[in-house]
């Protein structure tokens, strides 16, 4: 089998380190993704997104002048964004909890800590394909649903329309 399912997929890698870009490209190629474009920072990536359709984005977090967080926010929220729903995997060595939360709040779909392995990268892609996330739009956020699991005894505020459809008001 030669990755026929990914044959028509277009991916974009946003990473300031050329070696890591090359490695990610090779890993995507080995999974069957042949059409891969590259950018060294968020500004260049936004240009590419405007020029061509992309189905998947892999982005680093720390880049200059535009980092991966701002890039993600632009993709999700800018009126000029060609595809606010595009899956974004953030791949970074900045794995402290508050940075992971910042990535989540910017609207990334999946988070992958460096050092990367092929298995870990493929597992994130598999999540996007097999378990696509719902998107949430509210005053302060647009992006993939940040609730990963349902908490049985959740005591916080219920704000979503379906919360009211699915349960009686507490």
């Amino acid at each position: 089998m030669s990755g026929a399912g990914f044959a028509n997929l277009k991916a974009l890698i946003v990473e300031d380190n050329g070696h890591m870009r090359a490695l990610l490209r090779t890993l995507l190629n080995s999974a069957g993704v042949k059409d891969v474009s590259e950018a060294a920072h968020g500004d260049a990536a936004l240009e590419i997104l405007r020029e061509r359709k992309n189905d998947l984005v892999l982005t680093d977090m720390a880049m200059k002048p535009m980092d991966g967080l701002e890039f993600t926010r632009q993709v999700r929220n800018s009126p000029q964004s060609p595809n606010p729903f595009v899956p974004i995997i953030m791949i970074t060595g900045h794995t402290e909890r508050h940075r992971v939360e910042a990535a989540r709040d910017a609207g990334v779909t999946e988070f992958l800590a460096k050092p990367i392995t092929a298995a870990h990268l493929f597992s994130r892609i598999a999540l996007i394909v097999e378990r696509p996330r719902a998107f949430v739009r509210c005053d302060s956020y647009f992006g993939p649903d940040r609730r990963r699991r349902q908490i049985e005894d959740y005591a916080g505020p219920w704000r979503r329309a379906e919360d009211f459809n699915d349960r009686e008001l507490r």
């Binding site: 399912g5 189905d55 060595g93 092929a118 996330r133």
Partner: protein, 159 residues
């Protein structure tokens, strides 16, 4: 209970927005991606990247040593090293970089300056580990454990 005046969030289910690929293509792609052939190819790509990654690490180490007291530069560079080292097969280098990353991040969050001597000690250990011909994991773990203990004491004092 929610505040009735609060605007409700809108949920957009996956079938209501364009997906990365069709369900059928997705199933085919997953079969292919999980095949032994694909994993072998991917592993070969990882292995082939090791020499270039090692060179990149050595370049970062040089930048780290040149950074002097520029803590922002050290912070950024050591995060790069943490991200690359294991891919380059430099486990010890990555482990020590990880300790320094955590320390500098914690100090930043505490609003305090990192201890220059402690940072220099880590930089020196990272450089030695990266330039060692063999990645001596056992010895490296001992060094890393010592540094981690030192960092824990420093953080306790800082808090």
């Amino acid at each position: 209970m929610s505040n009735p005046a609060q605007k409700q969030a809108q949920m957009i289910t996956p079938d209501a927005y364009p997906q990365m690929m069709s369900r059928q293509d997705g199933m085919r792609a997953m079969l292919s991606m999980r095949s032994a052939q694909t994993m072998d190819k991917a592993q070969a790509a990882m292995d082939a990247a090791v020499p270039a990654m090692k060179n990149a690490i050595l370049q970062y180490v040089g930048e780290l040593e040149q950074a002097g007291g520029d803590m922002r530069k050290i912070f950024e560079t050591v995060h790069e090293i943490r991200g690359f080292a294991a891919t380059a097969g430099l486990v010890t280098t990555g482990r020590i970089a990880e300790i320094l990353c955590r320390y500098m991040d914690d100090m930043e969050r505490l609003g305090k300056a990192a201890d220059g001597q402690l940072v220099a000690l880590h930089v020196s250990a990272i450089a030695r580990a990266a330039r060692a011909e063999d990645d001596d994991v056992r010895l490296g773990e001992e060094v890393a454990a010592e540094l981690a203990a030192l960092v824990a004491r420093k953080l306790l004092t800082a808090r």
